[in-house]
């Protein structure tokens, strides 16, 4: 037996899509989390409903690293289709757990790894009669086996099942029986526990485990969204699914059976964003959620919203593109498209949440920002953040917080205004004009909103000077946006460094871990985690004060780096790209190697 690895290993489950493995695997992760130990799961799933291989990878990290790590210590391989690949993926000295009901093919035998054969199917068939149960409990049996091998507390599993089957108590007993079958088989046949072990700690505190899409949905509920329009697309679908679920709990209105919300499945993404624009124009907070192909379809409308100055919120859960790309894999590859979505001179406000808590906060904040700035705000998450569970700080809401509805003329203001109101007049010098909501006043404040050029009083005009004045005001408004969007998080090492690293969104955990790995070897690195576009002063200062900057992003074309050079005129010579674009969440090892060799 090799050296003990307590609370520090990676386990991967290789399953067949649609066989009920997801809840068994989640039970495993949750048990570790409940034992106070950080565990980060990643789903690696196919674009398929049933039958194709799917993987679920959990990193357990005493040090609290939440990014992916390379190298698999243990694999549960219960999918014959992927076994050959799975065997190869285990690191030397690692473990391969398989269903030994049938013998392993000789070509799957490696002499540098350990095999744990458990007759999962046989045990399940002997103990359950219903075919569906036989299928499901095979998965629970291996969770039981893992509990024995890693010393996961059995009571923790029991209490999780009690919560999961609240109201369906009949199901608890057969599940516990399945867990015990696994435990007993290990105890009777193998040396246990392994050197890979889970030990109770108190490293979680009051943190929660949540996926980013649910957090965005809850942010939309708390942010006061009343109209959601969408078209199904992975990986954003679960944003609206979760919004619907939360709305059913939190948005019932006092008249029985009615709702303080309207959720419409549109005929396509064009219609979805059109509805969102119509609702926001009429004074309701409204959002849509989509992914790359949907964002492409929404381009024309985003141009209209930018130019006609209509607030709207769009959640872009990015996936691997272009086209359908790898629809169930992650990427940060819509950066440039989102920043400049639409024809003509357009720029959009982007927010980059790095975890579920930020998904919640930034989605809620996006409604304030969109209304304050009267422009689209795009929340840029990705599949990794949206569809995987992450350990995150608990969500917080200040009950004194009031929605910022921006500059909206009330009936009284229209009534008593002495100066002539102009829809596109820059009264305050910040580029943001005052808007009116239809039906506010019987005779004042009405106008035609249009995507064609108009003067300060919303009258149609093709006068070049008026057009140009308006475009310049829009630019000024974008400068105002810099001061309103969330600030980046900057970490300067002791004494400062000439080398910096820029990252955003889900690259964060891996980047921070890589910085620690580098620091341990004496490589000093200042870092900045960017939260928003447009870039503000602190970002520019960071860029200006470093000689060499690594820009870490998850796309092929260095889109964020391009954005920097376009917007700030940064010398591309001092920017070094660290690019991960294989569809898998970026790892610390990768970033570490790239920076180490490139510094």
């Amino acid at each position: 037996m090799s050296e003990l690895k307590i609370n520090d290993f990676v386990i991967r489950f290789a399953n067949v899509n649609g066989t009920g493995s997801a809840s068994a695997n989640a039970l495993f992760t949750k048990a570790i989390f409940k034992m106070g130990v950080p565990a980060t799961p990643k789903n690696i799933f196919p674009s398929n409903i049933q039958g194709l291989p799917t993987w679920y990878e959990v990193r357990i990290s005493e040090k609290g690293y939440l990014g992916r790590r390379e190298g698999i210590d243990f694999i549960v391989s219960v999918n014959p289709q992927s076994m050959a690949r799975d065997v190869k993926s285990v690191r030397k000295g690692g473990y391969f757990l398989y269903d030994s009901t049938k013998p392993l093919y000789p070509d799957l035998i490696r002499d540098d790894i350990n095999y744990i054969g458990i007759p999962l199917m046989q045990l399940s068939n002997e103990n359950y009669t219903d075919p569906r149960q036989r299928q499901l409990f095979k998965n629970i049996i291996y969770v039981g086996a893992l509990a024995a091998l890693f010393e996961i507390e059995f009571e923790v599993l029991e209490s999780l099942l009690a919560v999961q089957f609240k109201g369906k108590e009949k199901l608890i007993e057969p599940n516990i029986k399945a867990l015990k079958l696994g435990v007993d088989y290990v105890r009777e046949n193998f040396e246990y526990p392994l050197e890979l072990r889970v030990e109770r700690r108190d490293l979680i505190g009051d943190r929660i485990m949540m996926d980013g899409n649910s957090a965005c949905a809850l942010g939309a509920i708390y942010g006061g969204a009343t109209v959601a329009a969408w078209y199904p697309i992975t990986p954003s679908t679960s944003v609206v699914d979760a919004f619907t679920k939360y709305a059913q709990k939190l948005r019932a209105c006092s008249e029985g059976g009615k709702w303080n919300v309207a959720i419409v499945q549109a005929e396509d993404e064009l219609a979805a964003i059109g509805m969102v624009i119509g609702a926001n124009w009429n004074g309701a907070r409204s959002f849509t959620a989509t992914s790359g192909p949907g964002l492409s379809l929404m381009n024309e409308f985003l141009g209209l919203a930018y130019f006609a100055e209509i607030p709207c919120v769009l959640i872009d859960v990015q996936r691997t593109g272009p086209s359908t790309g790898m629809p169930t894999r992650t990427q940060q590859s819509d950066i440039l498209e989102a920043a400049y979505a639409a024809h003509g001179d357009t720029k959009h406000v982007l927010l980059f949440p790095a975890g579920p808590r930020e998904c919640f906060e930034m989605t809620a904040a996006a409604f304030d920002l969109a209304e304050r700035l009267q422009t689209p705000v795009i929340v840029m998450t990705d599949l990794d953040l949206g569809m995987n569970e992450h350990i995150t700080m608990p969500l917080k809401w200040d009950d004194n917080r009031r929605y910022d509805r921006g500059k909206v003329m009330s009936r009284e203001q229209l009534e008593t205004a002495t100066a002539r109101w102009g829809r596109y007049l820059d009264v305050d010098g910040d580029g943001i004009p005052y808007r009116t909501i239809p039906a506010t006043h019987p005779t004042k404040g009405g106008f035609v909103t249009r995507g064609s050029s108009r003067d300060e009083y919303a009258a149609y005009t093709e006068d070049s000077a008026a057009y140009q004045r308006n475009m310049e005001r829009l630019l000024k408004k974008f400068e105002t946006a810099e001061t309103l969007v969330p600030e980046p998080e900057i970490t300067i090492v002791e004494g400062g460094s000439k080398i910096g690293a820029i990252y955003f969104g889900t690259s964060r955990y891996a980047a921070e871990e890589a910085a620690e790995m580098l620091a341990a070897e004496g490589v000093k690195l200042d870092t900045i985690c960017v939260k928003a576009f447009p870039f503000g002063k602190s970002f520019r200062d960071f860029v200006d004060s470093h000689e060499k900057i690594f820009v870490i992003e998850q796309n092929r074309d260095a889109q964020f780096k391009s954005l920097m050079t376009i917007e700030l005129g940064t010398d591309p010579g001092k920017l070094v790209s660290v690019l991960n674009y294989d569809g898998m969440p970026i790892t610390a090892d990768f970033i570490y190697k790239e920076i180490k060799s490139g510094q």
Partner: protein
């Protein structure tokens, strides 16, 4: 440059119940070609709103892109308007309507805007029975881009440049009836007497009201050989009926005893008094309505007047069970569940 209509009016113009004269319902001066059918429809809309005693600010004017879609600037100047993007007015109207169910939504579109680029949204807004009036100013061509044939140009129709359209046309009224539109009517921009009452009834209808108005483009499609020219339509119009709209607040005083009159009660108790003009057709029966339209079409006629209506039907708000108060009137108090609830949710995630 913006065009402002002269405010000089005859001092004794009649006033409606709200005390407004009809010019209060007009908009800025039209920039369309002189004689364009669309301007007549704008005038009919203003007249209908005047007669219905509508407060203009309670109307939201929605449109796409085209000469037709420009018209919301030319009527109801006190209303908000939204000249959106080509073919997508229905979605914008849907969002607006969801935000505030209390306004009257008047959508204006063209045949290009609806039957080509906007066909998808047109079809789906009908399915949702959105509570709105959707007017297509149908000239069989793309006016604003200089006269190309549209999908409603009849096969064999000749446009100004002499081109004969080889393709079968899309009949929007039949399509709307088939898709479940709950009010479908057809008219002609040159027939104000028919158009005004139709607009009134359509605005009073709760649910999706579709009005296909043949509206000649004098510049590109009013020539001999065009089936959307003034002359052609005048000679081929076949009226289904004439009608009067009787709001709930009014008693029926006219004498409709001739036997041909049919009273149809609307969702709010208002009534339509319909006088059928010798047609074997039942406006409350979808199949009968489709037959009537198709038979007329096969004879090269344009059937005008009310074609089909379903007096009471659930609209999108009913389907979605939205609250009675407009969604845009709700505040933090109704919308934000507060910190205690958030703590409870977080507890469930530990």
């Amino acid at each position: 440059m913006s065009y402002v209509r002269s405010k000089f009016r005859h001092p004794h113009l009649p006033k409606n119940d709200l005390g407004y004269t009809v010019d209060y319902y007009e908009g800025s001066l039209s920039t369309l070609c002189a004689g364009c059918g669309h301007d007549s429809i704008s005038a009919a809309v203003a007249q209908a709103c005047f007669e219905l005693n509508i407060e203009p600010h309670k109307v939201a004017k929605m449109s796409g892109i085209g000469c037709s879609s420009k018209t919301p600037a030319y009527f109801l100047e006190h209303s908000h308007g939204f000249n959106s993007v080509h073919g997508r007015m229905p979605s914008v109207a849907t969002g607006a309507n969801l935000a505030n169910r209390d306004l009257i939504y008047l959508g204006v579109s063209g045949d290009g805007d609806t039957a080509s680029i906007g066909m998808g949204q047109f079809v789906h807004v009908i399915r949702r029975n959105l509570n709105m009036l959707y007017i297509v100013m149908n000239n069989g061509c793309y006016g604003l881009t200089k006269g190309q044939d549209s999908a409603t140009a009849d096969a064999g129709s000749i446009n100004k440049s002499g081109h004969i359209n080889p393709f079968e046309s899309i009949d929007l009224a039949s399509l709307a009836i088939e898709l479940g539109a709950t009010f479908v009517a057809q008219s002609f921009s040159g027939d104000k007497d028919q158009l005004v009452p139709l607009i009134k009834v359509a605005m009073a209808h709760r649910g999706f009201a579709f009005l296909n108005v043949v509206s000649p483009c004098v510049t590109f499609n009013n020539n001999v050989g065009s089936t959307k020219s003034y002359d052609y339509v005048r000679n081929h119009m076949e009226m289904t009926s004439t009608m009067d709209f009787v709001p709930i607040s009014r008693e029926i005083t006219a004498d409709y005893a001739e036997g041909s009159a049919q009273l149809v009660t609307m969702h709010d108790g208002s009534q339509i008094c319909l006088r059928k003009l010798d047609h074997d057709w039942d406006p409350l029966n979808r199949i009968s309505a489709i037959n009537a339209v198709q038979i007329a079409r096969s004879k090269g006629e344009v059937l005008t007047g009310l074609l089909y209506m379903e007096a009471a039907s659930p609209d999108l708000h009913d389907y979605l069970k939205t609250c009675d108060a407009p969604l845009n009137s709700l505040t933090e108090k109704e919308l934000c569940p507060g910190s205690a609830m958030l703590d409870e949710i977080c507890n469930g995630l530990r």
